[in-house]
C-alpha cells in the first residue's frame, strides 16, 4: 500500500516536471529577430522639426529637447600625482576614455566643454588620493564606468570599485564619505552642495559626457513622433490611451525610474514643465537596463532611458544592456 502510493506520487511529480519543462519550452519562444521596441522622435512644438537622440549634432546643440550632461564629482581638484588625476586624464583622453564613451553609446564632450574640463584639471591642488578608490551612483553611467575602470586598470594598475544605486545614492554616499567619486546623471542640487560643504567637502564638478534621454515605445506602436507637451501629457496621465497622441487604441503604460535616479529627476525637469508629479501608475525600475525588456513586452508601453540603452533598440550595438544588467544583479545584493 505504502509502496503503491509512493509510485503514484513519484509519477505525479514526474508529470509535473514534464509539464513545467513543456510549458517553459512552449512559452520561451525564440527571441524575435527584429527589434521589438523603437526610439520615438521628439519635437519641441507641433510642426517643428523632429529629432532623434541618435542624431549627435541635435543632441549637442539642444535641438533634441532631452539632452543633458553626465557628471562626476570629486572633493577638490586632484593634484597631478593623485590617482584621481590619472582617472580624469584617462576619461578626457581622446584615445582612451572618449573611445569608451562612444562604445557605451553616449557622446563625448564638445570641444569647448572638453577644453574647459582639461583646464580645470590642470589646476590641481587639494586632493592627493592615491592608489585604488571607489566611485558610485548613476546606473545610466554603469556600463560607461565599467568600461573606463577596465581600461584604467590596464593602463595604471589601479582598481576603481564601481557601485550603483542611482545618482542620488552616489551623491549621498559621496557626501557621507563612503565613495571618493560620485557619478551622476544630473547636476548636484543646491541642498546637496550645502550639506557637502557643511562636511568640509570642496565639491568639484566634472562634465564627462553628453546623453540624450531617449523615449522608447513598443515596435507595434504606430506613433513615431511626439511633441514635448504630448510627452508631458503621457507621463502626467492626461493621456491614457494612444489615440490621444495619434496612435491606435491601446492603453498607455508608463515605465520610468525610481526616486534615486538622476534620469528620474532630469526627465521630470525637462518634460514635466508645470512642476507636476509623475503619474502614480508609472512603474518604477531601479535601473535603466530593466526598462527596455518591459517596453518590448508591452504593446502600450513607453519608457525613458539614457541613449546608451536605447541604441540596442536602433540596432546599433552598445555594450550597455549586458554589463549593466549583470551589475544591477550584483548591486541589488549590496544595496538591500
Amino acid at each position: 500500500m505504502e509502496k503503491k502510493m509512493m509510485y503514484v506520487a513519484v509519477a505525479v511529480v514526474i508529470v509535473i516536471i514534464v509539464a513545467a519543462v513543456g510549458a517553459v519550452l512552449l512559452l520561451n519562444k525564440p527571441a524575435p529577430s527584429g527589434p521589438t521596441a523603437k526610439i520615438v522622435l521628439l519635437q519641441k512644438t507641433p510642426g517643428a522639426v523632429a529629432y532623434s537622440p541618435l542624431n549627435e549634432q541635435a543632441v549637442y546643440n539642444g535641438s533634441y529637447p532631452l539632452s543633458r550632461y553626465l557628471y562626476l564629482y570629486t572633493n577638490g581638484i586632484p593634484n597631478s600625482t593623485s590617482s584621481l588625476y590619472e582617472w580624469l586624464s584617462y576619461i578626457y583622453n581622446a584615445n582612451t576614455g572618449e573611445v569608451d564613451i562612444n562604445n557605451a553609446g553616449f557622446y563625448p564632450l564638445q570641444t569647448a566643454d572638453h577644453a574647459a574640463m582639461v583646464a580645470q584639471l590642470s589646476h590641481g591642488n587639494t586632493n592627493s588620493l592615491s592608489g585604488d578608490f571607489k566611485e558610485g551612483g548613476s546606473t545610466t553611467m554603469a556600463q560607461l564606468a565599467v568600461l573606463w575602470a577596465a581600461g584604467f586598470k590596464n593602463q595604471t594598475g589601479h582598481t576603481v570599485t564601481i557601485s550603483l544605486g542611482g545618482s542620488g545614492v552616489g551623491i549621498s554616499n559621496f557626501i557621507g564619505g563612503t565613495v571618493d567619486v560620485a557619478q551622476s546623471s544630473r547636476a548636484m542640487t543646491a541642498t546637496e552642495k550645502a550639506s557637502a560643504h557643511a562636511k568640509g567637502i570642496n565639491v568639484t564638478e566634472w562634465k564627462v559626457a553628453v546623453d540624450g534621454i531617449s523615449i522608447i515605445v513598443n515596435n507595434a506602436n504606430t506613433v513615431t513622433t511626439l511633441t514635448i507637451s504630448q510627452l508631458e501629457g503621457l507621463f502626467n496621465a492626461t493621456f491614457t490611451n494612444w489615440p490621444q497622441v495619434g496612435g491606435t487604441n491601446t492603453p498607455v503604460t508608463l515605465y520610468g525610474r525610481d526616486y534615486n535616479s538622476g534620469t528620474w529627476s532630469s526627465f521630470k525637469d525637462l518634460v514635466l514643465k508645470n512642476k507636476e508629479n509623475y503619474s502614480q501608475s508609472m512603474l518604477q525600475a531601479n535601473a535603466n537596463a530593466l526598462i527596455l525588456p518591459e517596453v518590448e513586452n508591452d504593446a502600450g508601453g513607453v519608457g525613458y532611458v539614457g541613449i546608451g540603452y536605447a541604441k540596442e533598440v536602433a540596432g546599433t550595438s552598445s555594450t550597455a544592456a549586458m554589463i549593466s544588467m549583470a551589475m544591477v544583479m550584483a548591486a541589488a545584493g549590496d544595496d538591500l
Binding site: M6, G166, Y259, K275, N277, Q280, A285, N286
Partner: protein, 303 residues
C-alpha cells in the same frame, strides 16, 4: 576531613558558577528584549516629528505617495494596499499547498519518502530572495503574461506567487511540528474506534493541531509582509492606489528600500519613511502577537 572540605569547596564553586551562567543567560535574553525596545523607541522617536507637520489622518487615508518637493504627498494607503494584496494573495496560494504538504509529510509519507522530501522543502527556504526575485521578474512574469494577459507583466500577482513559494517552507515546518506533537494516543484511539486513516486525519489530528497550523499561517503571513527584495523585483513598484491584482503595486518594504537612500537626514520625507517603518513594525508585531496567543492556547490544551 580534608576531603570533606574539598567537596564543600567544589560545591560552593559549582553553585557560584551556576548562578554566574544563569546571570549570563539572563543578560542574553534581556539584550534581545532591549534591542526590541530600542528599535521601537527609535522608530517612534523618528516618526513623531513627521506627525508634527503632517496629520496622522491624511497619512493613513491619503491615496497619493509622492514624497517629492515642492508638493509632497504622504498617503500611505497605496503602499498599505500593495502590501496587503501581495501578502494575502500569497497566503491564499500558500495555505492549501502548505497544509496539504504538511498532512502528507506528517501522516502519510513513509519514513523513506519523508527523508528526502523534507530536506527538499527546506532547501526552498535557503534560496536567497534576490534569486526568487530574478525568477519572478524574468520567467514567472512571462508565464503570467501568457495566461492572464495583464497590462504590465510586473504586477501584484507576480509578487504574490513568488512570495507564496517563499513562505511555503515556513508554513510546512511550523505546522508539521504542530501535527507531530498531537499526542499519539489520540490518533491510536481514533483508529481503534474504527475510523479510517482519512477520518482520523480530518476529525482528530487536524482539529487537535489547528492552533499550531493557524500560528504557522499567521507567522508566514508575517514573513510575507516583511519580504523586500523579491517583491521589489517582481511588482513593478508603481505607487498607484489599486485593488486590481494584475496591476503594478508597491509594498511598504519596497518603499523604504527605494526612498530611504534619497531622503535627506532630518527632512520631512526622512521622518515620513520612519512613519511607514513604524506602521510596518506595528503590523508585523500584531501578527506575531496573534501567532503567540494562538500557540500558547494550543500548548495549554495538551499539557
Amino acid at each position: 576531613m580534608a576531603t570533606k572540605v574539598a567537596v564543600k569547596r567544589r560545591k560552593l564553586l559549582r553553585a557560584f558558577l551556576e548562578s554566574g551562567i544563569a546571570a549570563a543567560l539572563l543578560v542574553c535574553a534581556l539584550v534581545s528584549v532591549a534591542v526590541l525596545i530600542l528599535v521601537f523607541a527609535y522608530l517612534v522617536g523618528n516618526a513623531l516629528p513627521f506627525f508634527g507637520s503632517y496629520s496622522l489622518w491624511s497619512f493613513l487615508t491619503g491615496t497619493v505617495w509622492m514624497p517629492v518637493p515642492p508638493y509632497p504627498s504622504y498617503g500611505v494607503l497605496p503602499l498599505l494596499m500593495g502590501t496587503i494584496m501581495v501578502s494575502f494573495v500569497a497566503a491564499l496560494i500558500a495555505i492549501p499547498i502548505g497544509i496539504g504538504c504538511t498532512i502528507y509529510l506528517s501522516e502519510i509519507a513513509s519514513p523513506g519518502v519523508k527523508k528526502w522530501l523534507k530536506p527538499a522543502i527546506e532547501v526552498l527556504a535557503s534560496i536567497p530572495s534576490v534569486v526568487y526575485g530574478l525568477f519572478a521578474a524574468l520567467v514567472l512574469s512571462e508565464w503570467l503574461k501568457a495566461i492572464f494577459n495583464p497590462v504590465t507583466r510586473l504586477n501584484a500577482l507576480n509578487g504574490a506567487i513568488i512570495l507564496a513559494v517563499m513562505i511555503i517552507p515556513i508554513l510546512v515546518s511550523i505546522s508539521e511540528e504542530a501535527m507531530n506533537s498531537v499526542p499519539r494516543h489520540l490518533k491510536e484511539a481514533s483508529l481503534a474506534l474504527g475510523a479510517n486513516r482519512w477520518e482520523t486525519i480530518r476529525r482528530t489530528i487536524i482539529p487537535a493541531a489547528l492552533p499550531g497550523i493557524v500560528a504557522a499561517i499567521v507567522l508566514s503571513i508575517g514573513r510575507a509582509v516583511g519580504e523586500t527584495m523579491a517583491v521589489i523585483m517582481a511588482t513593478g513598484n508603481s505607487t498607484q492606489f489599486t485593488t486590481n491584482i494584475l496591476a503594478s503595486v508597491r509594498t511598504m518594504t519596497a518603499t523604504l528600500a527605494i526612498d530611504v537612500p534619497e531622503a535627506t537626514n532630518g527632512s520631512q520625507e526622512y521622518y515620513a519613511l520612519f512613519a511607514v517603518g513604524l506602521l510596518l513594525f506595528v503590523i508585523t508585531f500584531a501578527i506575531n502577537i496573534i501567532a503567540d496567543y494562538v500557540m500558547a492556547r494550543y500548548r495549554e490544551a495538551y499539557k
